[in-house]
């Protein structure tokens, strides 16, 4: 629906525009993103996202660090879900070194990544509620997330930057007490998901604010290279866990939620449905947990992958995270490029914000669930 400020045009009828900085410090830009908006009244005529305020140059830093030191830097990209970052880096390095990963380490990697997906989507649920104006879901979502962080703390010692998935396997093991606590969390979490549906997903004001807003057709989503829930919200069913399964994902049966017409609500609801699927995967993984050792045998203390290039990508919580690793046989990676899903998803804002109101800008920006650590790397 074209907004009125853009319909009424003609000689002598132009509205003088005002340039507003949705600046690097703003309560709902999820970090340090600057949106240069040109407003005609309340309606946006031009949007220019300016990033780089959290650019730490990790790709350059990794060229002077050996492979084990690089894993630490991978945690700091998408800090809301750090496990898939570790996993993508380790998969590409292991692909170069052609190392066979023991089955227990594969299963542990799947368990940790799925738990991290739930924790990351809970952050999204909370912050998106605040963007639309409802403060309370944030508190409930973070209460559940605390239980997941306790599980991580018991297993790998850290709450946010785990450094748990290492080259060749996994850092620490879990025991029956951990499995019991995890099952108890899953039982406790399922009714909470239905609670969120009544609290936020089907709230009439929330539906009014998100249903017809930020519509992205299928061609635009594919053209702009979106990935993850943003792409699936527009109806394209592309999930790396299904298209190129890694770490044994083909053994678990789960379905991929797909939206209908790519509105903010579809992207939001894809993420809520994904949490249910992750619970299914976790239950299957916990029952079929094989025993055995955690690390691949015969891995050097300071690994030197043979010269060559490898590209490995995983389905991170925010999209298709790919690591292109070039090695010249040295101790440090020669060149590493991160295909950051948030960086590529953010570019579409220039196009779809035209003609929206200021309140819609926040709804659309929030529905993309970007993390500035991954956008700027």
């Amino acid at each position: 629906m074209k907004s009125e400020a853009l319909i009424v045009t003609g000689p002598g009828l132009e509205m003088d525009t005002m340039f507003v900085n949705l600046g690097p410090q703003h309560p709902s830009t999820h970090g340090v993103l600057r949106l240069g908006l040109t407003l005609a009244g309340e309606v946006i005529t031009k949007a220019f996202p300016d990033i780089g305020y959290l650019h730490r140059g990790t790709e350059k830093l990794m060229e002077a660090r050996n492979y084990h030191q690089c894993v630490i830097l991978t945690d700091r990209w998408d800090y809301c879900s750090a496990m898939p970052n570790n996993l993508a880096f380790c998969l590409s390095a292991e692909k170069l070194m052609a190392v066979a990963i023991p089955p227990r380490a594969q299963a542990l990697r799947v368990i940790m990544c799925e738990l991290n997906r739930i924790a990351s989507h809970l952050i999204f649920l909370g912050t998106y509620g605040i963007d639309i104006g409802a403060f309370t879901p944030f508190l409930y979502a973070f209460r559940e997330r605390e239980m997941i962080l306790d599980l991580y703390e018991k297993c790998c010692g850290a709450r946010l930057t785990y450094n748990y998935i290492r080259l060749g396997g996994v850092a620490a093991d879990i025991d029956s007490d951990w499995v019991a606590k995890c099952r108890e969390f899953l039982e406790y979490f399922k009714p909470r998901l239905d609670e969120y549906d009544t609290l936020l997903s089907f709230n009439p004001i929330f539906l009014a604010r998100t249903q017809e807003v930020g519509l992205i057709p299928k061609e635009a989503a594919v053209g702009w290279g979106l990935s993850g829930p943003n792409l699936r919200g527009s109806g394209v069913s592309y999930d790396v866990r299904k298209s190129e399964p890694y770490c044994g994902y083909e053994a678990y049966d789960f379905d991929v939620p797909v939206g209908t017409h790519g509105s903010c609500w579809d992207r939001y609801f894809c993420r809520v449905q994904e949490m249910r699927q992750s619970v299914r995967i976790l239950e299957a993984a916990l029952t079929k947990l094989p025993s055995g050792e955690l690390m691949a045998k015969g891995l050097a203390k300071v690994p030197r992958p043979p010269a060559g290039e490898a590209y490995a990508h995983v389905e991170a919580s925010r999209g298709d995270l790919g690591i292109y690793l070039v090695s010249d046989g040295g101790v440090a990676p020669y060149r590493i490029h991160v295909r950051a899903p948030c960086f590529i998803n953010l570019a579409i804002l220039q196009e779809i914000l035209i003609g929206k109101k200021v309140a819609d800008v926040i709804a659309v920006l929030g529905s993309f669930d970007i993390v500035l650590g991954e956008v700027d790397r």
């Binding site: 990033i51 350059k60 053209g223 290279g225 020669y334 295909r339 196009e351």
Partner: protein, 193 residues
């Protein structure tokens, strides 16, 4: 489904694009095609998007094959232990491994995905380091817009025809392109002790 199954797509691409051949050092487990000249890029991209159904531009990136990284590009000289005063042994190997030849070239890489048949193809192109010029793909793929700006910002590759080729990540007052191997960091007011 094994991504290498798209042999016919690779064959039709090789036939259509002059002097294109299977890359000598491919990206592991994925079909990689080396283009000969920058002009072939638009032709190959149009063919990929039009007939072969590769609508999804996944990644645009580059590698600088000049040689081992110059530790001047790091503020503390690549010192892995910030507390120790003496410079530690740089973890960078001066001698290239087998099958790798350092040369003053920028090696660009594009990755196209066919979501329907679940296939990937990588295009590769070598450019001289000093005047790296290549046509921009923003006319065909909107996803190329920011990734080309990032390649320009970090490597200094000029994409002709790009609507808005300006810095995207590095601060405005940073001179030079950081990801080039010979980048030396000029200390600014934030770096003095």
């Amino acid at each position: 489904m094994n991504p290498l199954a798209g042999a016919d797509a690779v064959a039709r691409l090789l036939a259509a694009v002059p002097k294109a051949e299977i890359a000598s050092s491919p990206v592991k487990d994925y079909p990689t095609i080396r283009l000969a000249a920058p002009a072939d890029l638009l032709l190959a991209a149009r063919l990929l998007k039009g007939d072969l159904g590769f609508m999804y531009l996944e990644m645009v990136t580059a590698v600088d094959w000049l040689g081992p990284v110059n530790l001047g590009g790091f503020v503390c000289g690549g010192n892995s232990n910030p507390l120790s005063r003496k410079p530690a042994a740089p973890p960078v190997s001066p001698v290239p491994g087998p099958g790798v030849s350092y040369r003053p070239m920028l090696d660009l890489l594009w990755s196209f995905g066919n979501l329907g048949e679940n296939r990937k193809i990588f295009l590769r192109l070598e450019l001289p380091r000093d005047r790296a010029e290549v046509p921009s793909l923003t006319s065909l793929f909107a996803a190329a817009d920011w990734q080309e700006r990032e390649a320009f910002d970090l490597f200094g590759i000029r994409f002709t025809g790009h609507p808005n080729l300006i810095k995207i990540l590095t601060p405005d007052f940073l001179q030079g392109h950081p990801l080039r191997k010979d980048y030396v960091h000029a200390k600014d007011r934030y770096d003095e002790e």
